[in-house]
Amino acid sequence: MAKKPAVQTALHKVIMVGSGGVGKSALTLQFMYDEFVENYEPTKADSYRKKVLLDGEDVQIDILDTAGQEDYAAIRDNYFRSGEGFLCIFSITEDESFQATQEFREQILRVKNDENIPFLLVGNKSDLQDKRKVTFQEASDRANKWGVPYVETSAKTREHVDKVFYDLMREIRARKMEENKTNNGRGKDKNKKKKLKCVIL
């Protein structure tokens, strides 16, 4: 079993969240297959896997594209639990979707119970500047409040699409390394404690 992690490439699990119609699937498909889908089909749940090169390291990314609609909330929780990083998407052309990010953030924190979960706030549809309803300032203020990065993307022009995925993967990777360290530390402590007990006895 000890050999396994060495051979296996790292796998990072990313979950796309956000209201319906903000472009979660569009971003995912653009990232996965370099294609832009114009017509809108609500997603129930879709999952993708891709091999990518992250800073010279072969890794795999699992992307779970969730439903924006509330109807699928029951399924969504099962996925949230196993997600390692989250892209929280809204459309810069729709204020409601921006307001909804608050709700999504809370939901994720509740399920993961972890303030530092890798998380990016993403304002999509940046190509539609003339229809902008959410200012950059507004969005980055919220991101600052949460302590997460804010990035604007366009699934149509592919602007910053790779960036959000790669940035998130880096955060996940950093997080995992940190976790391993602390876990190792704790594990050793435990052993020591046990030994000590024995001596006393």
């Binding site: 079993m1 000890a2 396994k4 992690p5 699990k13 089909e41 609500p42 997603t43 129930k44 749940a45 879709d46 999952s47 993708y48 896997r49 699992d62 779970l64 109807d71 699928y72 909330a73 029951a74 399924i75 929780d77 099962n78 996925y79 639990r81 196993s82 390692e84 939901q107 509740r110 399920v111 993961k112 119970n113 972890d114 976790e179 391993n180 876990n183 190792n184 704790r186 594990g187 050793k188 435990k190 052993n191």
Partner: protein, 564 residues
Amino acid sequence: MDFDSPDVMKDFPGLYASELNKKCNNDSDYSDETDKGNKKDMLIGKRKDKKDKKDKEKGYAALEGESSADEECKSRSPSKTKKSKSFKFTTKSKDKREKSREKEKDTGDKKKERDKKNDKKTEKEKNKKVKNYEDALDIAEALPIFGVNLETAVERSRCHDGIDIPLPIRECIDYIESAGTSFEGIYKISGTKSKVLLIRKMYNNRQNINLNDYDVPTATSLLKMFLRDLPEPIFTSDSLVRFEEAGAILNLNTREKHLKILVDNLPPLNKLLLSWLIIHLDNISLNQTHNKMTKQNISAALNHTFHSSSRLLHALLHHCRALFPDLTITKYIPPLSSGQTLPDDLETMEIELKKQESLLTQIHTEMNVGCISKEREELLWEVQRIITQLKRKIKTAHKEKEPIVPQEKEEPEPVEVSVEEPIKEPEPIVEPENRPTEPEPTLENTIEHLEEIPQDDDNDKPMILTDSSLLLLKFKNNGLLALKERLERNILEEQKEILSLKNQLLPEKPSVVPSNEGLDELMSLLQKENQILQINKINLVRKIIEQQEICIELKAKLELSNQV
């Protein structure tokens, strides 16, 4: 959502933290388990490493995690690591197999005790809604497949091709049909008990089982065990007596008729399972020159399994083709797992998609009840991925098929429609769960607009066919409505009568109490008579309904001719 209740959320310490926690707190967290372990100790009087094992069993999901802390914990007791392997994979080395067998014996002994607790436990946990692995339920304990009622067993171990018989039975039948029909003394010779118990445990754990690794007696014993463990006989407690009586009828024609009625009145799942079993057993008897198992022998070997007399079984086998005329046993092909290549032709893809969606639904249901493990989550993503791939493939296949008329829905090739329709039908089986039914996004939409066409056609036809047929339908409709009203009134009246009769019954009860042997005999005689009368009644009611329908149709026609 229950998941959102904030107090439960607090308990969720995150993915990796929870695993570690679990490992280290095991002893205290599962004091209940340890208790059980101790009882077991007393029962068997060996195994001092019991507690370790128990921990390993419960912590299995967590052990699967890959953080290095886990590795360390594991390395503390090397035996654990070894065992956890044997627990997961279908046993390969003898050494491992033996260990799991020993373990299985223990759990087998304990099983009954645990089964009793299960029901209560599950319900309690359900309300709690678990948030992390620490609180997660062991699926074999919370949602066992063996020893629960048929409906639950089917729900928990679905064959994802839409045939609703429990997976263990289906796989046993498949295996026996392919490997064992000529095995001498099949169903009479029992398999090694430890092996059977091991497989049962594996099924309860939702592991993949290849029965080819075992032998025919083991498979037959497993099948028998499943049926014996059903809390209610497959003939249902209510109708078992009537089945027995029908089976005892001497006149073959009458017997067949009565059995047919009884079989048709069974709940659908019971009927389906019974049909598969009887046809399967009939197949066995067809090979009696090799396996020495005549219908008589089979009935004698299996009557306990069916909680019935061998006479009844023999009768069912004798009439099996008349009772289940169009059943053929088809081999179950489970949903593909990742790594296997996906099919290319449209029809197979659609079928595969249905299977995967059925599987996904099942995983979600299990997780919603609280059976969460690293492994299950892994599987969840995997199945979801396959579904996504399949949907993409199907979509592209559709696009390739209709490149000439990309926008107009009006005239796609009729071929397409015929491909879609048979697949659309099994739909309700896929999503029977109480989760919100969802408008299937990508694929379903495409299907829907393809289906619009035949509907349009249907709508057009009657318009052209002049309005005479329409009138006829209208008259028929009126007639049926009137009938419905009348029947509803009858029902109400009869309900009133039932109530008043019940009221009369209540005070009279004490007078019935004194009984003696003579009365008992009379009772059973009367019961028999009653049953026969009941069957006759059902037949008559059917006939009446049929006649009424014919009447309505004729009346409608009459009215139509009058109008014309």
